[in-house]
Symmetry: C2
Subunit: 288 residues, 2 copies
Amino acid sequence: MTDRSRPSARLMDGTAPARRLTEATAAAAADLRLRTGVTPCLATVLVGEDPASVTYVRMKRARCEQAGIRSRHVPLPAGTGTSRLVDVLGELSADPAVHGILLQHPAGPDVDERAAFEAIAPAKDVDGVTTHSFAAMSFGLPGFASCTPGGIMRLLDEYQVELAGRHAVVVGRSAILGKPAGMLLLGRDATVTYCHSRTADLPSILREADVLLAAVGRPELIRGEDLKPGAVVIDAGYNPGNVGDVHFASARERAALITPVPGGVGPMTIAVLLAQTVEAAERQLGLG
Amino acid sequence: MTDRSRPSARLMDGTAPARRLTEATAAAAADLRLRTGVTPCLATVLVGEDPASVTYVRMKRARCEQAGIRSRHVPLPAGTGTSRLVDVLGELSADPAVHGILLQHPAGPDVDERAAFEAIAPAKDVDGVTTHSFAAMSFGLPGFASCTPGGIMRLLDEYQVELAGRHAVVVGRSAILGKPAGMLLLGRDATVTYCHSRTADLPSILREADVLLAAVGRPELIRGEDLKPGAVVIDAGYNPGNVGDVHFASARERAALITPVPGGVGPMTIAVLLAQTVEAAERQLGLG
């Protein structure tokens, strides 16, 4: 039974804003095609046949199609090594018909993923995985955002979450999620704390968070009792069974705003990928 | 009168470790000269005649000389624009006789300093100011550290300060001090909080800091009563009159370890610059 006296957070739905962003992207793609005859093209590179990765790539390609973006799929066999992958990414970087490049993570145990990412030309790094893009996010320079952090920032803006001067706590420090998200939040004048597996007394820090970003990939690590009442909770965890990093039911009783899993951060991530692909095409064609 | 019942922090002297590092650097430079006939060379680029900058560059060049490093000074007139500066830095980047490049900050009101920094070849970025170096520090990749953050990490190690799992608070978020220092601390498994001018209730966050890095350039902003008892306090502020960002007398009563100003971070910064110059020369000559 639900205790109706308990407050319940407003949901930060990502599907509707993602749909609006994708509609705007589709319009921009159509306009580009009209003006230049060129259809924006995203190359998707997948090493091996990990089922989750296959599904992600298929979903991203389907969304591309819906938005009037061509996708060129480059499947590589499991066990592909770094140098072969770097070559493929270098060729795509040099190919004028390709405007954006996505290397699906993880690229496999035989690959130096950092070296592979760096083989993507910054102008085509629409997934925001290169060190160039990271520095751009960190210093507020022109460049592409990592898609999940970029989607999170758009979601926060969509729900008019005030960031300046507020304490944002990022749990997780991966190169394409936690670290760049913290830098984007810092660029918006939040006070930013990075927590991770070695953090001592995580709950005491979580309780100081006006804005909490869970980005660690540990199912339901964070529970309602860890939250500051009225917090804004962004759950970017994706774990098997559509479970986030936040225990939704208990968190909802304490937060003011919370993203559902699924339907929160995920849709925004893909929408940003598409938007950045068209933006990349515009720049490469001398428009935009 | 001193109240002798009050505890007093141990000083984290930077001069002795800086001297030892510089001795090792001088030995490496001598060895390099012996093996290759080449003397490591640092190019120093100074725009205008700001007295503080003139003094800093003079001091750095004098230290180079003491360590057996050649310096090539490139003074440019006040009002030098970005494109001229970029050209000069590009030429130095291409010159095989130059192994490291230092552009003295600030480069003047007429210069896009980020564009200038990016004109420095990453292999010669011994001052750690390029986005390449920032990403290297952020992701634990090979590359040069920004000199002050690099010096701070060496000083912490020198005094065997435990970082893993401890809460490090960085006050200041500049591109070559606060931001990279936070990333280096995070890379060492500290929980890291970035504070800045927009942070609400700074004292409450300072009181949580096991390790506090003041890097904001506001004289004596931080006082002893703001500190957690037993904190390690690194004062990287440099303000007129040899005053740091920390009020030394009151902080000393509460901290366990504290850097003096001057004689703490400053000497380590220059020592790291010299060490990285010789390291750059070694790599460019195919050694090291």
